[in-house]
Subunit: 720 residues, 2 copies
């Protein structure tokens, strides 16, 4: 096809428009851009003004809605498991939203200025898969629908952004998707404020989210809703699927609060669609109303019947999470007058939805043209925005990270971290973040920026309040909004416990968030065991696809940030000290990328008498103990194991060069549980740590009483 | 002194009243009963009717309030760290509540029918320590106040129930204490409904809690508040210290919701004390009003000035979490007219508060008399209540746990768990619990009981809704209410992530909750990686003072419950399967107490060729693989490592008898990350597991694709 815009034409032979620069190399990325205007298989696009899309004729709407319902029913029936109830109840909402309001390009699911849609009630994923299929997303075919919940299908049991193009975020654990949506809407508001010009609105999309009773009960959703109200996220529109049924039965048994009144208290605009089953006009009208409310997010409570259409199971918990059973499927077909084979979609429904392929291409082409104009007029801003959209880092970005010599003054790694954060913010356009009310303890303020607030959304310091869980999930949402948005978020390391479910989803959904976790051990002192992490390093080292970094000084802190920025598909957790630490001699920014390396050694032939292994604040102790032992004539190597995951990824040869198999005299020291250290100290070595909860006392006293001392290391060395 | 009640007289020579049966043997218990009427050091008690305690003269109140303020200021100043702001602002509320309303016996902090007080804003602990000191609690002396935040003092940096008699729960991590208070109030409502008689109200106390802005922002508090409103916990009175300041400054930057409106939406009665600094009359009147509202919990918003009295730091974040500094301390002394040495408490204040020692003794004596009468009239109920108060288990209680033979039908351990739960509920009076909206999946319903609800609080099935974090903390509150209350709570194992902060506090505060966690591996199948735990076993094995149990079949499930019930100072987590498992030959109820044991072996002389180690659902695979390998002539031992913590506690001799050092050919199989298994398989062994996230597919397919099979074990055995 002819490239409709000058920018597309500028990339001859590539098979894609110039926005091919926006392609992400990762195979599982939802951000794998393929500029629709030129992508193979796209139909010729005419520029359609899609701002107020007309509704289909009522009979066709009904057909479409039933097609959605039965795709869900049939897929669940075929899989013999799944959740038909929500799709059956929310099909009318799903149809109206996707067909009449949502702006997207099915042939380029990652088109930057698309509206975002999140199904926070992720168990109802067949609703989303059916809609993606109808709307023409190539990643969800009829075969995929038939392979619902099967090995390697693009239609897993809950929506997974890394499996299914068109799925924005990974949901299922309740409340998370809603908080992700707040993050997506924050990102839009921020980018719009930074990049839009009076004459060119280059960032302009809505975020829609469907959440159910379960999401509403979870505390995380209240945290996120409170922030969304505070920030005045006017382009966030949430649909509360009010079906009164959760797994244990009627919500009356555990959930009798006035949800709309709660949201009003949180600063939201609220509307109630009393008949979500057939009240199409109401659904339309409320979405229009919501779009018109610019200063507040909107919650639309849509009262639906779970399992709508099933004569014997509708409005019961049995339709929530189980197949209807063949008899009830037939009864439902009769009841809704749907006399088709399983998985049948009537031609007129297909024809109607095919409109979205052209429309999507047009929407993106239109935006591409606008971007070309933007680029001409606002070159500098366009370059920054491009970096945010593509995820391409400015060349030489890592040269801003500070380096240190042993003569540099001792400092807490939380302070050294702040130097990194502030340096990175000067060069990375999509770098932003904040703390859960501990900015001055976590040292996370970006000094050159103000606060992201309702009226200053262009700023980059996010004030999350004391809401760790919401903070984590909002950060995940920011990260998946655009490949070049790199959010960081911060609290005390021990409070990773509050946000662990969000950290896990960050890892699972490849969100690349940076978790800045200070006060990383009993070294925080007097606040006591409630604030002192001991098991956290291991509990996070055990999690797949996440980097747990514990830098020992300035160079390692810079190295840790370098790794964190480079790993865009794998989140990083930085454990940082409250207390001052010296700048060590053998540490290095680059070596952090190996995960573990030798910082000092007086042996030769890769055969020291003893290897001391430390991380973070205890590396200093290992180094001091080594000095003492060397004075006594021993050959001692000191190894910094700053990131176990990275070390494990090194070639065997390298690992052998750091931790030779032959040397079994090994001692580790780390201010946390020793459980897990067997991996590196072996059965003949000794792990020094803290196999108990901490205690409230000055840090030095705790270290001494719990045996985290040079003397302990020396004694252990002598005992080996 | 003369024992004032017949029951006390019935225990001659014991130095305590008959309620000496209520003593807990654990040295750190807050439940260490010492029947006040006869405890040494208690003054002669006259029965005082303390229902409406008169306020002290205004000048004396002011003196007392300033004494509290300066104890906090001076203690923080001496420690050179801590949080003076809250105690200075909340001293008026603290004084009125403790001096005029709270019913307690300072010489027996664990008197059963005391009012419960929780400082959810735990950083303000000097408020609580000052009040405990003034009120005559022997565990907090002037020396303790001077040792604030020092090693082994009873005045740690946040309130810790295991360190300080009179502190009901361990707080600091925000929102937790508030949710604990909901659990305490639930326990009271439940016990009152079960045991009170028209003529004898034997359970009748209030739960008071102070929470701050931070607590309000945390999602857990909304979860707990929603439940408290739903349940109509009329005897729960929460004070919201509305001081507008959190660590990052004015709460305007992140917290602008209408808190009272939110609580109204949650079904609470709300009141606002606009002047919490000097409005004593208002504070009194609102508490009276709150006590009169029987059908709803009450939130009293008390607007205070953080750091009240400090001329330069009041109403700023700098007074939140730092010592004032000697200059500002002096300025504050001048400003408030407090011209005393540090730590001085005027005699008239001491004299006034000394009243509580007598009063407390009388309150308890009165209750003891009532209990004696109750015991005569309602013998059976009294026996049950006694068991709940004392924590003494009925003799032979564990004989109700079911046992199985290899011929018993295969079943999911979640179902076997339900048999245990139902059996235990028949014999243990204080056994109650529920699920976070997964009762029919977790299999946690007690069939002989109905639902604990607003109008049926005597029932024992608690419906937590989809609120895992709140559930965990509420359960902690129930557990610490009385030694014999044994709460269990349930969700999918993967969602321990949502409640991890509460689980940690359960472990730290020795709460003895039983966490029933089903769907414990990829074996749950199609719901996919968001629902499939892989790292959770290790992340919880790493936590101090908690038992992570993963039973393999019916006998081990019964054994796990036996251990869980016996460990009243250490919570237990049971990881249970969704899928059916066979009843294995060598498993046993009793052996679970060893943590690890041999279930089959064809070797002699403690020297098998190979040891296979499994847990839970994979023990079956290990056993099958062993059978195959034995057919080939190998000697193979199969070990069930059902609870690592318990195994580690066994004598070396026993451990050697199960896992002899000499045998290095070891293979483990567990459907989770292999990280950590180095401990038992050593560097020459092999750990089979899942070092990645799971996937959505049928369970059998996942096991096969990920190599959790008999064939994998055999192949590994041959490779060793």
């Amino acid at each position: 096809m002819a490239a409709p815009t000058p920018t597309a034409a500028a990339a001859p032979g590539s098979g894609r428009g110039v926005l091919g620069f926006l392609r992400s190399p990762a195979p599982r990325s939802t951000h794998a851009f393929a500029a629709s205007a030129a992508s193979p298989g796209a139909r010729p696009a005419t520029v359609v003004r899609a701002r107020s899309r007309p509704a289909a004729a009522p009979e066709l709407v009904e057909q479409s809605v039933n097609a959605i319902r039965f795709l869900a029913v049939d897929a669940v029936e075929k899989a013999q498991c799944g959740h038909p109830g929500l799709p059956m109840g929310c099909a009318p909402l799903g149809h109206v939203l996707f067909d009449e309001f949502l702006r997207f390009n099915p042939r380029n699911p990652a088109w930057f200025d698309r509206d975002r849609f999140v199904l926070s009630a992720g168990h109802g994923c067949m609703l989303q898969y059916a809609l993606l299929y109808l709307a023409g997303y190539e990643g969800v075919t009829m075969d995929d629908l038939k392979a619902f919940r099967q090995w390697r299908s693009s239609t897993p049991g809950h929506p997974e952004n890394f499996e299914t193009p068109g799925v924005e975020v990974t949901t299922g654990p309740l409340g998370q998707g809603f908080a992700n949506a707040v993050g997506l809407a924050l990102a839009e508001k921020h980018l719009a404020a930074r990049f839009n010009k009076t004459d060119l609105k280059i960032v302009d999309h809505y975020t829609y989210v469907i959440l159910g009773d379960g999401c509403q009960m979870e505390g995380i959703s209240n945290e996120a809703a409170s922030l969304a109200g505070h920030w005045g996220l006017g382009k966030l529109i949430a649909f509360y699927d009010d079906n009164h049924i959760s797994i244990d039965g009627n919500t009356d048994i555990a959930f009798t609060e006035d949800v709309l009144a709660r949201y009003e208290a949180l600063g939201w605009h609220t509307i109630w669609v009393k008949n979500g089953n057939t009240g199409y006009a109401d659904i339309r009208a409320t979405i229009k109303e919501a779009k018109g409310v610019k200063d507040k997010p909107t919650l639309i409570k849509v009262t639906t019947t779970i399992g709508f259409g099933s004569p014997n199971k509708a409005n019961t918990y049995s339709v929530h999470g189980s197949a209807l059973g063949s008899k009830e499927v037939e009864a439902t077909r009769s009841n809704l007058g749907w006399f088709h084979e399983p998985f049948h979609v009537p031609d007129e429904v297909k024809r109607h939805w095919s409109y979205h392929i052209d429309e999507g291409a047009s929407l993106e082409a239109e935006w591409n043209a606008k971007f070309a104009e933007y680029e001409k007029k606002y070159h500098k801003e366009a370059a920054a925005l491009k970096s945010i959209i593509s995820g391409e880092l400015p060349s030489g970005w890592d040269s801003v990270l500070p380096t240190y010599t042993p003569e540099s003054p001792p400092d807490a790694t939380r302070n050294l971290s702040q130097q990194c954060l502030n340096a990175l913010a000067t060069v990375i356009p999509g770098f932003l973040g904040g703390s859960a009310d501990l900015a001055t303890s976590n040292m996370t303020l970006l000094k050159m920026f103000g606060d992201f607030q309702r009226d200053t959304p262009e700023e980059r310091n996010i004030r999350f309040g004391v809401r760790e869980h919401g903070m984590g999930a909002i950060s995940n949402g920011i990260a998946v909004h655009s490949p070049g948005l790199i959010p960081y978020c911060a609290t005390f390391f021990v409070f990773t416990d509050y946000m662990r479910a969000a950290i896990r989803l960050s890892a699972l959904s490849e969100s690349g968030v940076i978790f800045v976790m200070t006060h990383d051990s009993v070294g925080l002192g007097e606040d006591g065991p409630t604030h002192q992490p001991v098991e956290h390093l291991f509990s996070l080292r055990a999690m797949p696809n996440i980097l747990m970094l514990r830098p020992a000084d300035g160079n390692e802190t810079s190295g840790a940030y370098r790794i964190a920025i480079l790993n865009r598909k794998r989140p990083s957790i930085l454990a940082l000290s409250r207390q001052k630490l010296p700048q060590l001699k053998g540490t290095s920014v680059d070596a952090v990328s190996k995960g573990g390396y030798t910082i000092s050694d007086n042996s030769s032939g890769n055969k020291p008498d003893l290897i001391l292994i430390g991380t973070g604040s205890e590396l200093e102790i290992a180094e001091k103990a080594a000095d003492e032992l060397r004075k006594e004539g021993r050959t001692v190597r000191v190894v910094s194991l700053v990131c176990w995951e990275l070390f494990e990824e090194q070639p065997e040869e390298y690992k052998e060069s750091v931790l030779p198999n032959e040397v079994t005299s090994r001692i580790s020291i780390e201010a946390g549980v020793t459980f897990g250290w067997e991996k590196y100290v072996g059965q003949k070595g000794k792990a020094i740590g803290i196999d108990r909860f901490g205690v409230s006392a000055p840090a030095g006293k705790i270290y001494k009483e719990l045996g985290l001392t040079v003397e302990s290391v020396i004694a252990a060395a002598k005992a080996l």
